[in-house]
Symmetry: C2
Subunit: 328 residues, 2 copies
């Protein structure tokens, strides 16, 4: 299929709190190379930037490409970011601040690099290749430790002045609700993140109301991941089921806000919690949203599950590098 004339190769990189993933794509966005390393944030920024470059080198070698063949590199990062400077302003999970990741990569590889918030990159991946293709406006909601949001509007990521936006996890939802990681009460993520659910489920386990969960994860919320929550519900822990259902209702209310404001064509739900429990969560989200939204807007959007899993962010980051370089 591919001739050897001006073939394009795009690299997507996903910098996570525990691991980094690099994938090389050909111009049809087929995967032709891949590498993965632990992030090891505790080793510091300088060591981290070296590991990032080493991971990209490894993926390019895995693809069997010469470095000069790479057209561009897209990097999904934890935020907040400074897009203009190509700097990660703060990556709390890594303990890093002011990381000049774009320049570091451009210097090493001699091609354009572009940074994006990892949630933005993931939604852009779903928009280009996954669950939200060919729509005018797509919104992504990704419940995890926090709850990330992103929006693609008329082919482009919707962006704040110089940083990412669509911080859906931080919208106020429950007046007098719990305190979240930013010190605010009743934000969406204070009541519907995986962490909020784990906190409530641990209490149920402690009270003896979630025997499966108690036996398989105990009351340490760091052990109460999406998979065990799903198994707990499947195994009959009614208290956990009720907690999940309440979180789904809160997520539904966040959809009410999103649709009233942005009226997107598609809302994509993704992330580990959704992957583990989409059947428990999404019907409730949809019911709340369709019941609560104005008649003129309530049937104007689809609610879908993300399709690309861990590949969404690297595919989206690579596609952003392509958009940045070619303007498409």
């Amino acid at each position: 299929m591919a001739s050897n004339k001006n073939q394009e190769y795009w690299v997507g990189f996903d910098l996570g709190g525990t691991k980094m993933l690099c994938v090389v794509f050909n111009e049809d966005f087929e995967i032709i190379g891949r590498a993965r390393k632990k992030t090891k944030g505790h080793e510091g920024i300088s060591a981290g930037l070296k590991r990032i470059n080493a991971t990209i080198h490894e993926a390019v070698e895995d693809a069997g490409l010469a470095l000069r063949k790479i057209s561009g590199i897209g990097i999904g990062c934890p935020g907040p970011l400074d897009f203009k400077k190509g700097v990660i302003r703060e990556a709390p999970n890594l303990g890093w601040t002011d990381i000049p990741i774009q320049k570091s990569i451009e210097k090493e590889f001699g091609c354009p690099a572009v940074i994006a918030n990892d949630v933005d990159a993931g939604l852009f991946g779903e928009y280009k290749f996954g669950a939200a293709q060919n729509v005018r406006c797509a919104f992504g909601i990704f419940p995890g430790t926090g709850i990330g949001g992103a929006c693609v509007y008329e082919g482009q990521l919707f962006r704040g002045s110089n940083t990412s936006c669509m911080e859906i996890g931080h919208i106020p939802l429950i007046n007098g609700g719990p305190i979240d990681g930013a010190g605010n009460c009743g934000s969406l993520e204070s009541v519907a993140s995986r962490l909020a659910i784990a906190g409530a489920a641990a209490q149920a386990a402690y009270r003896g109301q979630a025997p499966y969960l108690m036996e398989n994860a105990g009351t340490d919320i760091s052990q109460i991941r999406s998979g065990v929550l799903s198994d707990s519900v499947e195994s009959g822990d009614q208290a956990v089921k009720a907690i999940i259902e309440q979180a789904a209702e809160h997520l539904g209310m966040s959809v009410v806000t999103v649709v009233h404001l942005l009226a997107p064509d598609v809302i994509v739900f993704g992330g580990g919690l959704i992957e583990a429990m989409s059947e428990q969560i999404l019907p409730i989200v949809e019911k709340v949203a369709r019941t609560r939204i104005l008649p003129s807007l309530k049937d104007e959007f689809k609610l879908v599950e993300a399709e690309l899993g861990d590949n969404a962010a690297v595919m989206g980051a690579a596609a952003l590098a392509r958009q940045f370089s070619l303007g498409d």
Copy 2:
């Protein structure tokens, strides 16, 4: 200043519940003609469309122009709208549905016409000529009987699939809050619209806690308009002051949602309630918002008062006609 070569003239029309206003602008967007009539919605759609055309004719005559000189007509309408068909789907205050206003005007005047939600038109006016000029992203919040919202993003109104969006009045804010006009609990407009404020103030008057208000407006909420609310606060009705302050706090929380999602550069507050009481309301809105928004976003926006008053919608509608025709 103007020569007689290819001079452009743009018409802005604002269809309100009680009155209609038409203004003719030259290419520098100076007002050169104006006309105003009562809307008389009870006379029906056909009579209404004739009154609209008559009002436009009158304004063009007032400007001393021949009809063929008009480059385009922009119409601010109550929503929801069908942009593609140029139809007002529903105008509850007029008792009208499915009004083909665009075609009616284009047929009469032989030039392009474009319809816009009146809140969209108002914000676009502020963006082109008023309080939100030259910004990448402007958000407008207009508390009145309900609470309207709008967003200009990179020079264009942000639009839903085929209707207006940014329905900020309908975002859920207070769980278990009052029932609003759409039958939902705790939306922003259920607690912070002029109507919500009037409802609470009427109760204070009835209880004897707002003597000035009782004397000057009584307990009929249709008499409790923005002006008398402002006078009541000025005259020492403490209960009314507290009601206004609480509404301002709710408006502040809606700003928290808007900034976390859209990260606009400017938020414009306008409408009768703000014109009457900006000094009581806006400092509270600002304090709540700056206190409650994430550090990376909290200082990235300005909060300003609208500047154009009743001219915002006609100026914005005319500018939209220009953008629609010339693509700028």
